[in-house]
């Protein structure tokens, strides 16, 4: 056996993204593939996502769940990152009374913060608990001073959103993982993917057979969460 250093997979996936961006939006089929054998349960993705998207308390786009099984000393532990599934049949979309939640041409499930009325129906509709309402709070509330990093703009959906005034979006809106489409559109990988210490998270375009995500799904066994709900998730878990 020999070592196989041939470039960090982050670079390979970044090339995949650049190729996809050269094609029209409607010909991109973004998807995420998570290798459960490689997830180290480090939670870096969870925190990177909070930092990147300036998430308030109680809103976590990408938790990592832990499951312990077996009896001592034959113990097993599995770590399961759980972003938004960006379902191809997303229950949140029909649940939205104002059409604020919709499926983009590139398969991303997005929220139009301008339209969203914060009714919370999509939050209830999502079988993955992948959505939450931004209640307008800050982590550093109740301390000597709310800190600037919580009020800085985030760049979700390629716009600037500043949570510093009372009713400005995304305060009071439904929030969820966006596949970091604001980064992806710049040729970057989602925040969770670049900081995945175990290199367990893959991102790319399933319309491209040469993309790493496509190859992995061909080579490896995989599952999706709650297949029985018929949501057709775009997040795949390698077994």
């Amino acid at each position: 056996m020999s070592s196989s250093v041939s470039g960090d997979k982050l670079l390979i996936m970044q090339e995949d993204v650049k190729r996809a961006l050269a094609r029209p939006l409607s010909q991109r089929q973004w998807a995420m593939v998570i290798d459960l054998k490689k997830c180290a349960g480090c939670h870096a993705c969870t925190i990177a996502c909070i930092a990147e998207n300036v998430l308030p308390p109680h809103v976590i786009y990408r938790p990592v769940l832990e499951q312990e099984s077996g009896v001592f000393p034959n113990v097993k532990k599995q770590f399961i990152p759980r972003p938004c599934m960006h379902c191809d049949k997303p229950p949140c979309v029909p649940a939205c009374p104002v059409g604020a939640t919709f499926k983009q041409a590139d398969k991303v499930v997005a929220v139009n913060y301008e339209k969203c009325i914060g009714c919370g129906r999509c939050v209830t509709a999502c079988p993955y608990s992948a959505r939450a309402l931004d209640d307008g709070s800050f982590y550093t509330e109740g301390t000597p001073a709310v800190q600037g990093y919580e009020k800085r703009p985030n760049f979700e959906y390629n716009q600037q959103w500043k949570r510093d005034s009372a009713f400005a979006a995304p305060k009071g809106r439904a929030r969820k993982c966006t596949f970091c489409i604001h980064r992806v559109s710049q040729g970057l990988l989602p925040a969770c993917t670049v900081t995945c210490v175990g290199r367990a998270t893959y991102f790319g375009d399933l319309a491209d057979p040469n993309a790493l995500v496509s190859k992995l799904l061909k080579q490896r066994k995989y599952m999706r969460l709650l297949e029985n709900k018929g949501t057709n998730p775009r997040v795949y878990y390698l077994l």
Partner: protein
Amino acid sequence: GKPQDKYPLDNPENIIYSVCLQCNTGCGIKVKLLNGQAVKIDGNPYSPWTMYPSIKYATDIKEAAKIDGAICPKGQSGIQTVYDPYRIRRVLKRAGKRGSNKWVSIPFSQAIKEIVYGGKLFASVPGEENRVVPGLMDVWALRDPQVAKAMAADVENLWNKKMTLAEFQSKWADHLDKLIDPAHPDLGPKNNQFVFAWGRLKGGRSEFIKRFTNDGLGSINTHGHTTVCQGSLYFTGKAMSEQYAFDSKKGKVDWTGGDKFYWQADTPNSEFILFVGASPFEANYGPAQRIPKITEGLECGRLKIAVVDPRYNKAASKAWKWLPNKPGTEAAVALAMINWIISNNKYDARYLANANKAAATADGEPTWSNASWLVKIVDGKPTEFLRGSEIGLPKISKSETISGTTYDYELDPLVVWKDGQPVAVDPNSTAEAVEGELDVETTINGITVKSSFRLLKDHALSKTIDEWADICGLEPEDLIALAREFTSHGKKAAADVHRGVSQHTNGFYNVGVWMSLNLLIGNFDWKGGMIKASTYNYDGTKTGKPFDMTKNPGKIANFGISSIRHNVKYENTTIFNGYPAKRHWYTLASDVYQEIIPSIGDAYPYPVKVLFQYMGSPVYSLPGGHKNIEVLSDVNKLPLYVAFDIVVGESSMYADYIFPDLTYLERWEFHGSHPNVAQKVQPVRQPAIAPLTEKVTVFGQTMPISLETVLLAIAEEMKLPGFGTDAFGPGRHLKHQDDMYIPMLANLAFGDDATGKETVPEASAEEIAVFYAARKHLPKEVFDPQRWQALVGESWFKRIIYLLNRGGLYQDFEKAYDGEKVKNKYGKQINLYQEKTYKTKNSMTGKAFPGLPQYIRPYADALGRPINDLSEGYNLTLITYKDILHTKSRTASNYWNLAVESENYIWVNPRDAYRYGLKTGDRVKIVSASNTSGVWDLKNGQKKEMIGKVKVTEGIRDGVIAFSLGWGHWSYGSQDVTVDGKVIKGDSRRRQGVHGNAAMRLDPVINNTCISDLAGGSAVFYDTRVKLVKV
């Protein structure tokens, strides 16, 4: 960012590369800025810590701006440490009794004057109306460099019996008043009553502190924290790397040059790694750079790992085998393996036979061992190595040139056995290769001898594999399987050990046994085997470097016994008073953190007047740290206590003065490396944001309050040598931190090759423009291009820009390898048998420390007697671990991490839970024989109970419980404090969880300190027997 930027965070003008310090791993980071504020941190892709492999050093910075490397959750949340609402901005002076949490903010210059001159500084505090606090001027007694140097030499003479006490006293009659105790001149000058102690210290600041303390104030007392981490791992490394060579200081051949260091696995190339008491997925230098090399290796089938740990750590989730041993019995695991390996001839005999450098070179081996050297056996016990002269072999005449001076000397050779004859060994000979037989027991000239290898074999075979398995509580079949796997990959296997092996009373010997196991397969310096850290020099002492930053013409020599009694032989000193000593003497270790404050409390070997504490929280971090409070809170035991901190913490809350420091995003440091990184590197921490502390004036210049600023200001006030005008020699001053750091950067930009061929290029005009743009928010006191150019000239300035634009100097990934070996080699002898250790006496028992790594029963007191708490019903062994979300004392401010987990738990096995009638979520108190009430007594009228919630899990061995460090705070922003009469409310989120260190066993002999490893210095974290009391 430019307003038209849709996403300004990938613009190189909004990026500054630096180095994380959320833990000590030192991942390269990319600090992303918006309007002068750090808003997002990712990995620096030039750093081998965050990419596998990292991008080439020459990569264009515009391209690199688009590539983010991976860092851990703590690294992601670092801006919360920096922008902590509880950060201190101004100097705080105590306004009540120590620990009362009452402060006033005072002008910087006032604090400096009070600390320098002392006086009735706390006259307004009840009980201290008439207390005269000593200032630094009071301890700065010996100031004449010539006198100090000559006295230092005479103290050595005193110890070597070349001078009597009376001779010393009469020769130095005029200067005896400068000594702590003229009857014991070897305690050194009064200057030693100043102690500078630190928790986390890295390069650059390290030079500042040592210049100030050792060379300016002339105190020997600069002490780090090594033993609270993995001291015995470092000091076993030191003992194993001692070379038998000519020592120009001693003028003779002796054991010399042992490095305080250790080896780890070359993770990206190993085929099998056995992690022992190591948790590379959570800590262990560290997740970001080791995990991908492990997970990718597992995925492609290159790698298999096994984990020996009583707790199912996260790496165990990927392991071929998880072996939950009994804590403290780690050596028994290795000895079972060694038993099998030797019994089945699975060791690398070719490697081990090499008795010297020439023999190793002939085999293409970078290292060699003393496995074949003969050790004299007296009364059945190994003693010293046999020397040629004892059996009539001639001495070897040698000549060596060391820094320009040629020395002629004689070597009394070591001896090996070969073909029925003794053969002389010159360990460092490059001409005469000597190989020895391994399994030797014989008598030469009436002297009974055994080879080092034979000693190890005898010990490993003194018990059967079943017996070793019984000691460590594992299955013999598993241990055999481990041994078979370990010896099935040539040199591409490694036993990688960490704190779980070293932090026991037997830690030094545990580590020694495990390193011996590595020796058996001869994997050192081989790809996939055991490697060491390699860093580029920055202090300028290497040939060709532009600025020698160690120059210090006015330097005062420091000498005497250190306040923690390290690196000195008790029996040689004038305060020798039989055995046991009052407290232990650490002859083989240094930076013995748990000794610093209790030794002050006991005034042994002498009272300390002033303690400076930098970036450390001994109260919180140490086992039995609550006993430190008794000293820190007592103004009679410690008259002046000054802390540098970013927040009022569990230790600094007892300080007389707290100086606000800069965090890792506001300051300079040369972070260094770790032994699992094969590349030669020097990561540079540089200011990424404007400093948040108050601006003050020192040496006529504006600067933010920081460690450096305080030291400069004190030096200015006291006119300390080594600072101010001509500090580094004519024309080279030290009046600003840049005077130290900018020339150091030039040294780094030169590289390490004397010919200069490694010198980094000058930054292009475009790169320079980006560099300036990225620093447009930095004030002049931090970034002043004119000041920098004046220090190093234009060419170095441009090279420094190239370097800083990449966050330091990083060797390209593949250049770290040379065929099947690593490029950056250790390349020296590795001791299986340690003669120097054998020749060191245990100051408590008066007996020699064993020279052979071996199994020693864990959980002993300072006299080596077993501690039997079990008989009193303390039947659970308490261990700790570090969750990846926290770093001991200083991450309670990281609210994002608290959102993932809001408290820690006490892990309990279901069988123990049944016995104790516990279920998940139950609240329990941890009590031990040395803390029967289970409390932290804060000595301010408050007590904090060690109560935590139970988590019942199959992931821990029966009889063992575990909690993760970093929780259960009572300070660090969790507690109300009063500043200038105003109450600042603490944040209860920062108080959650349990911190059980105060339950850890105090030594029954040395009552105010945790049990310790007397050879390697480790503070014991993993042996205390406790009970859980349901509340």
